[in-house]
């Protein structure tokens, strides 16, 4: 399940839904989830609020492509990806990634792969309110490095 939404998400409902979405939920012994939240500091600057912009249509397509890539690589069940857009404040939830697998290694790797690829492939842009006004967040070199590592065969 993929959803791009302004509304907040309820991790307990998503956890239940992830189990309900599987043909055989009791075949999956490992559940790994990632939640990304708005921090109150970024690059030494205090953050008051944040706006998340996206490219409707392309966002969903790119997330579906990342999910297909993940399912081709690891033996996982149907994952859940939720990404919020619009106005957010420090502490707010931004993104949810939930993965189930029979064993934990695949669940951890697939979950980390999903967020690493989302970070460089999915058309979302963050604008932060700092003491000096609103500014677009710069892409981090680290995110490219994190994603690259999956194509180097050391995992």
């Amino acid at each position: 399940m993929i959803s791009v939404q302004t509304a907040d998400f309820d991790i307990a409902k998503l956890y239940q839904q992830m189990s309900n979405n599987q043909l055989n939920p009791n075949g999956y012994g490992a559940v790994v989830t990632f939640v990304g939240k708005v921090r109150d500091f970024n690059q030494q600057q205090q953050i008051g609020a944040m706006t998340l912009e996206h490219y409707p249509g392309m966002t969903e397509k790119s997330l579906e492509a990342i999910v297909e890539q993940t399912k081709a690589r690891w033996p996982i069940g149907e994952p859940i990806i939720i990404h919020r857009v619009g106005e957010l404040a420090p502490g707010d939830q931004i993104v949810y990634i939930g993965v189930v697998s029979a064993h934990r290694k695949a669940a951890f790797e697939a979950c980390e792969f999903l967020i690493d690829y989302l970070k460089i492939k999915a058309p979302f842009w963050k604008k932060e309110q700092t003491e000096t006004g609103y500014q677009w967040v710069d892409a981090r070199e680290n995110d490219t490095t994190a994603a690259d590592r999956w194509s180097q065969g050391n995992h």
């Binding site: 490219y55 990404h83 931004i94 058309p123 979302f124 842009w125 967040v137």
Partner: protein
Amino acid sequence: MLTIVFFAQTRELVACDNIELEFNSSLSALETIRSQLASKGDKWDLALQQDKLLVAVNQEMSPWDTVIKDGDEVAFFPPVTGG
């Protein structure tokens, strides 16, 4: 007709979400589309500097040598920062 869309800094600088361009064969090259738009003014030129600009064709991230055809949707935007 081509639909050109902009996002984030790029959209703010050109002060416009999207525009339409009459298609002609010279516009099959992304670089031609980019430079034609960049010539619309200083802000457009700044917004469309190829340095870190990304491009999506029909909602798919695409390389700069992608061949554009009539009816395509072309998007210009900076590196993504979601998650």
